[in-house]
């Protein structure tokens, strides 16, 4: 008989756990997510860094310190197996004052303790050789070559696709409202659409992990949101080659200046603590954005004019009581595993978190895991027109002429790319057609014009493939429909 596992939350943590557990023949894995698509929680809006693992103090935050470096190493493998867009460009933690070197020495020491390879302090000459346009105030830096960047939502999508290909069942738009516990043992979860039986329940609910835990009667921690805001600039604005950090302060890693993987200069985040109940407040604010601007200017003095901004956004870090990741099988409720408080560096740590959970299942729940004879570690990346040579385009159009037709002009996304995205959305169980689902798979709408040319065309494609009226297509799930009806709806008095 198979052990049924319910994972709550299809963020980077839940998806990674699903993938790792899909390897075992004696598990039946269900991935449950309240949003219409995967990766739309905390994993959606962050700095997208695969951190180096040097800044978490192993005394204070042992789990973070241990899993970050292990996660970094695992991403090298996962990014290849799953064809996740990434770059390993390294980071510079920049000193602008003599005192900063004391902190850099501390980080170097800590990094060594955590097992971070190849770090060293570079002098001014080498620093400017690595990053010529850095502030002239810079006097040296800590150079961490193992830092990288990935597409966080593309990563969640890739991992989920691979998990589903290996037998994981997804339940999207399924909000967990209760945990079934009998005689101190977990029995499953209740959702708005009925219950799902399970022998093991894994709580990877991000900002809501405290609520989910309380549903199982566990209330020793609370999660509060800490907001971070960002600016992204047009792709013709030059950015740095490496990830640039200021020397950290006791409160924050500081505002990063980086060229994110699709080639846009990005600056952020600041850190603003919100009350525990404001877990949906993803609004950008003037104050926050200005703070980021000022912070970034210190490292990168030639910030572009505001007319070069193509987007601002905010993310919420799930900050747990105590500050360390909470990853454990809870003793009061057999079969209930918390993966809570996965704040930064949670993205980096996710693959390591997933293996940790598998170990917990074996060690603490005593379930012997049997590997499948055939498990497929590979997943193919979606076709991207912008990565094709003209010769490859001509090969692709032989299969389907849509690959030759551009829909998103800023990022050169073809109709073929979009149709493939829709197919993949259906493959993992996306029920409500949304422009954002297409966007995160193809990059359409994320360029200079921010979708004003291509969104109406994407809406048409979604409407056709999902068989709904175009105005019912959503931006990002129910309640965000593109329109209210056909153009005469108000005159007819139907709306």
């Amino acid at each position: 008989m198979k052990t049924k596992v319910a994972i709550i939350g299809a963020g980077i943590s839940g998806a990674s756990i699903a993938r790792v557990l899909s390897r075992y023949e004696n598990l039946e894995v269900h991935l449950i997510e309240k949003a219409p698509d995967v990766g739309w929680g905390v994993s959606k809006a962050n700095t997208a860094l695969i951190h180096g693992g040097y800044d978490d103090d192993p005394e204070k935050y042992p789990t973070r310190a241990r899993l970050c470096i292990r996660g970094n190493r695992l991403w090298h493998q996962w990014a290849k197996e799953l064809e996740i867009p990434h770059v390993w460009n390294g980071a510079l933690i920049v000193a602008t004052k003599e005192e900063d070197f004391d902190e850099l020495e501390r980080l170097l020491e800590r990094g060594r303790k955590n097992g971070v390879p190849e770090m060293r302090i570079v002098d001014r000459d080498e620093l400017f050789h690595l990053e010529p346009n850095l502030t002239r105030e810079a006097i040296g830096a800590l150079w961490v070559p193992i830092v990288g960047q990935i597409g966080p939502i593309p990563a969640v999508i890739a991992i989920t696709e691979n998990a589903v290909a290996n037998g994981v069942k997804t339940h999207l738009e399924t909000e967990v409202t209760g945990i079934k516990v009998e005689n101190g043992e977990v029995k499953g979860v209740e959702t708005k659409d009925g219950s799902i039986e399970a022998d093991i329940v894994i709580n990877a609910a991000g900002l809501y992990a405290d609520r989910i835990a309380r549903m199982a009667g566990i209330d020793y921690f609370e999660i509060h949101p800490r907001k971070g805001e960002y600016w992204i600039f047009d792709d013709d604005v030059p950015g740095p080659k490496r990830v640039l950090f200021p020397t950290p302060t006791p409160i924050s890693k500081g505002i990063v200046v980086t060229t994110e993987i699709s080639g846009h200069l990005m600056i952020g985040p600041n850190a603003q603590d919100l009350p525990p109940e404001e877990k949906e407040d993803l609004a950008t604010t003037r104050e926050g954005l200005e703070q980021v601007w000022e912070g970034a200017k210190k490292l990168w003095p030639q910030l572009p004019p505001r007319s070069k901004v193509i987007r601002t956004f905010a993310g919420l870090r799930p900050e747990p009581t105590g500050g360390d990741f909470i990853i454990k099988a809870e003793e009061e409720v057999w079969g209930f595993i918390n993966v809570a408080g996965i704040r930064s560096p949670g993205l980096t740590s996710a693959p390591a978190i997933a293996y940790e959970v598998a170990e917990i299942i074996e060690r603490d729940l005593g379930i012997e895991l049997k590997e499948k004879e055939k498990w497929n570690p590979y997943r193919k990346e979606i076709s991207h027109f912008f990565m094709m040579t003209p010769e490859q385009v001509n090969e692709a159009v032989k299969k389907n002429p849509a690959y030759g037709k551009i829909v998103c002009r800023c990022n050169s996304v073809s109709e073929g790319d979009i149709l493939e995205a829709i197919e993949r959305m259906k493959f993992i169980g996306v029920k409500t057609p949304s422009v954002d689902s297409v966007k995160f798979r193809t990059k359409a709408t994320t360029g200079t014009c921010q979708g004003s040319f291509c969104r109406p065309k994407i809406v048409q494609l979604l409407a056709k493939e999902y068989g709904v009226e175009p105005w019912k297509v959503t931006l990002k799930g129910k309640g965000s429909e593109i329109g209210i009806g056909d153009v005469k709806v108000l005159l007819r008095g139907d709306a």
Partner: protein, 418 residues
């Protein structure tokens, strides 16, 4: 260059099938040039097919037409003449190998091609400024559209975006969209304009009175809030220096926010070629043949500068192609000397930037601020023109004679009190 992709060959390739590109392609054919017109949309006409209101063609056709009518007249002529064109064909890159060897790489449902040409006319239009670019913060929700996107949704795809509308920007586009929404039964709750005066033509400002739409001059939208959909927008008053006045904020409830905050010429492909850009127009620096700083690359329409009248756009397309013909025949656009055109008092932008004095030209210009009873002057040649009113929203077009131009070393255009 790409040995394995099909190679085509022309005198002129025109990029963009809006009015500028169509007029260029028609004229090219009339002049006996071998021409190819490319547009990425499934239909020709650029943005005209979505502009179903009248107001097009008074100069060019001496009749008032709607956008689709104007476009279909050009398209009909194009077909009659047998101009070769392709739709659903997106130009990816333009390469400049030498003066008479350009390559336009494009993709289409039948695959990627390289079209070699002696000259290229770039008429790719413009894009609209969006909410992030004008500094609006808050929630990222459905219901925020640029005017052009809303127009496309309504007039191309038949979708009603929402029912309670706030419009940012009182230029012609914003005003026309205000009417469009009102005509379909939506409640337009406000048109919000940053400047102390409306941005559009007087006849379009009348729309607001006709439909009882409040206009907030000297105000800006700064924030949007909502869950899935826009629920309310925050408006704040600004002073003469456009600084926000603390305490003047108020909220308007609405489900839709339309951004009509101006257009930006689409010139990324030209920039990639090294074409010099004028920061005032956002388009390239050109001579009186509308040739850019890269020989043999010409530009017309909204890619050159933002036009309010389609008639001028079509005129620019023709002019550019006449330049291309000269370029091809003489191996370049030559001039004894180039007379530089400079911006004087109250002139925000002016095109073309260099005049040869070999021919008469139209200068297109915009003022920086509205004024009454003024004169447009070019002191170097003693030219003076009386103008009762000038507004930034209305592009001025003035004719200079070749003889006048030749007299000067440079020309400074200014708009001053008479």
């Amino acid at each position: 260059m790409f040995p394995r992709i099909p190679m085509l060959s022309y005198d002129v390739v025109v990029v963009g099938g809006g009015p500028a590109g169509m007029a260029a392609a028609i004229r090219a054919k009339e002049l006996g040039l071998n021409v190819l017109l490319l547009d990425e949309n499934d239909y020709l006409g650029g943005i005209l097919p979505q502009c179903i209101h009248p107001g097009f063609g008074l100069h060019y056709y001496k009749e008032e037409l709607t956008g689709p009518e104007f476009a279909s007249r050009l398209a009909k002529r194009l077909v009659e003449l047998g101009v070769e064109y392709r739709t659903a064909a997106r130009v990816l890159e333009i390469r400049n190998y030498s003066d008479l060897e350009k390559v336009v790489i494009f993709t289409s449902p039948s695959g990627a091609y390289q079209a070699w040409a002696k000259a290229v006319i770039y008429a790719a239009g413009a894009r609209e400024r969006h909410a992030f670019e004008i500094g609006i913060v808050g929630d990222r929700v459905s219901g925020i559209y640029t005017a052009g996107e809303a127009q496309t949704l309504m007039d191309i795809y038949g979708i009603m975006p929402g029912k309670e509308i706030v419009i940012v920007g009182s230029g012609d586009v914003g005003l026309i969209m205000a009417r469009r929404f009102a005509l379909e039964g939506a409640k337009v709750k406000a048109v919000v304009e940053l400047m102390p005066y409306p941005g559009g033509l007087a006849r379009n400002v009348m729309i607001l009175r006709d439909f009882d739409i409040p206009l907030y001059l000297g105000h800006k939208v700064v924030e949007v809030r909502g869950k899935g959909r826009v629920e309310r927008v925050k408006v704040v008053r600004v002073d003469e220096n456009l600084n926000e006045i603390p305490g003047s904020e108020f909220w308007i409830e609405a489900d839709t926010l339309i951004i009509s905050a101006g257009l930006v010429p689409s010139v990324k492909k030209l920039k990639a070629l090294g074409v010099e850009i004028d920061s005032a127009t956002g388009g390239p620096v050109v001579n009186d043949r509308l040739e850019t700083s890269v020989p043999g690359i010409f530009v017309a329409g909204n890619s050159l500068l933002i036009n309010d009248l389609v008639d001028y756009v079509a005129e620019q397309g023709e002019l550019a192609v006449e330049g291309a013909k000269e370029f091809i025949e003489n191996g370049g656009i030559e001039s004894r000397k180039w007379v530089k055109v400079e911006k004087g008092e109250n002139v925000r932008l002016i095109v073309p930037h260099y005049l040869s004095g070999d021919r008469d030209v139209y200068l297109y210009l915009r003022v920086a601020r509205p004024m009454e009873d003024v004169e447009l002057r070019i002191p170097e040649i003693g030219k003076r023109m009386k103008l009762p009113v000038v507004k930034p929203a209305e592009m001025l077009r003035i004719k200079l004679k070749a003889g006048e131009i030749r007299k000067a070393e440079k020309l400074t255009v200014e708009v001053v009190k008479a």
